[in-house]
């Protein structure tokens, strides 16, 4: 079976199970699934680009704020102590200081880098401009960083720590605590907005 090169652009291969389909026209808010393994193939949303940029900027601000402001504080017997994300990373010292670096990477640097790359890729697209230089490489890197971007996992970790400590001491929410709740919601929302197929096809040129 032979396909002309421009014909290949209209086919779509399921990345999970390798079946080939003719790419269907999918209306906004509809989703195209692979019939065999049910992987979502195309899920366009109207104005998704603009919304994704807005959400990415919000998360960037949240991460920056949570890094420096304390998010939790505890008190017992008149002593009070509070912690920010930076304090949390540097809780690992000596032999364990590799973990300090890892924690900073997973919850500050990688999420921030990924969002900056995403904004860089999407900004020209939503204004109907030609893609930014090296946009493909930027989006590839941004996608590769997804599993290692763990800000929302850290946010949930705060809730777990809270439960564990509530018996032992008084726990207070710091100014950054509500940021984490917002972070989890926004990360989940932007994940649902993102249609990788749409982004790749608009970077084609």
């Amino acid at each position: 079976m032979h396909h002309a090169p421009d014909d290949l652009d209209n086919l779509i291969v399921c990345p999970t199970c390798d079946l080939v389909y003719r790419a269907p026209a999918v209306a906004a808010r509809e989703r195209a699934y692979c019939a065999r393994c049910h992987t979502v193939l195309i899920a366009p949303r109207r104005k998704a680009g603009k919304q994704l940029i807005a959400l990415a900027l919000t998360v960037l601000i949240l991460i920056a704020a949570a890094t420096v402001f304390p998010f939790l504080a505890i008190g017992a017997g008149g002593v009070r102590h509070e912690a920010s994300v930076l304090d949390t990373a540097f809780a690992f010292s000596g032999l364990l200081s590799v973990l300090a670096v890892a924690v900073l990477l997973f919850i500050v640097i990688i999420p921030a880098l990924r969002l900056i790359l995403l904004i860089y890729v999407l900004a020209p697209i939503i204004r109907d401009r030609p893609p930014a230089p090296r946009a493909k490489a930027a989006f590839r890197l941004s996608e590769a960083l997804v599993p290692w971007s763990m800000a929302e996992i850290f946010a949930l970790g705060c809730a777990v720590a809270l439960v564990k400590l509530s018996d032992l001491a008084e726990v207070f929410f710091g100014p950054a605590a509500w940021l984490f709740a917002a972070l989890v919601v926004i990360v989940v929302a932007s994940d649902r907005l993102m249609c990788r197929y749409s982004i790749w096809t608009s970077l084609k040129e």
Partner: protein
């Protein structure tokens, strides 16, 4: 989905699909023309990589359970807790709920990941015992859940940063936290190395869905 008359895999059609952007290219094309990713019909090294990361991951998971995860210093004395030890302690104090959560998150899920990854890799090599759909579902769960195991390490960090109440109580992270983090990272790499398309290449050769049109929801 709009399906052609007979659904075939890219490989059966002499094509190679890009796993990043889904564009097909003629077999042998080194890089995807749409997104620039490296193209491989099937990752020939997939299983070797899965097993290599799997072994290092397991190697780290053992010391993660032997060494203490947390050291708590209070007025009464110093206490070192391993993962299981900490959960048993909580249960003894009547805190059954939290103890169960810790056991599920730090023991059952990591062990389950090792078992499932090994099962998937063995299934590809020696013929699967369960259906493609089930193995695919298991793979998705392992892929999804992998990064969430890092929550244990983050909780240790948060507790250690927060509980610094001078003589009253201090918590410091134990050596196990490093091994646990490494074990999570290595199992994530193991799961990422697994080429999920291998699940669908059963021993009889790739087999398309029998009545794909009926399955469209």
């Amino acid at each position: 989905m709009d399906l052609p008359e007979r659904v075939k895999t890219a490989r059966e059609q002499g094509l190679v699909g890009c796993t990043r952007c889904t564009r097909p290219s003629p077999a042998g094309t080194p890089h995807c023309p749409r997104c620039g990713s490296r193209l491989q019909s099937r990752d020939a090294m997939s299983l070797q990589k899965v097993w290599a990361w799997w072994l290092v991951g397991l190697g780290c998971y053992i010391p993660a359970n032997v060494y203490p995860m947390l050291e708590t210093r209070t007025l009464v004395g110093t206490q070192s807790d391993t993962i299981v030890g900490g959960a048993v302690d909580l249960a003894r104090h009547g805190n059954w709920g939290v103890a169960m959560i810790i056991l599920v998150a730090s023991v059952l899920i990591p062990v389950g990941k090792f078992v499932v990854l090994a099962g998937l890799a063995i299934g590809v090599r020696h013929g699967p015992q369960i259906s493609e759909a089930w193995r695919h579902r298991l793979y998705e769960v392992v892929e999804y859940i992998g990064r969430w195991s890092m929550i244990d390490v983050f909780v240790v960090a948060i507790l250690s940063a927060l509980v610094q109440l001078q003589a009253l109580a201090t918590i410091t992270p134990g050596r196990a936290s490093l091994f646990f983090a490494l074990s999570v990272i290595f199992t994530m790499l193991s799961a990422q190395s697994f080429d999920s398309r291998l699940i669908w290449d059963s021993a009889k050769g790739a087999r398309p869905a029998r009545n794909p049109k009926e399955r469209i929801a």
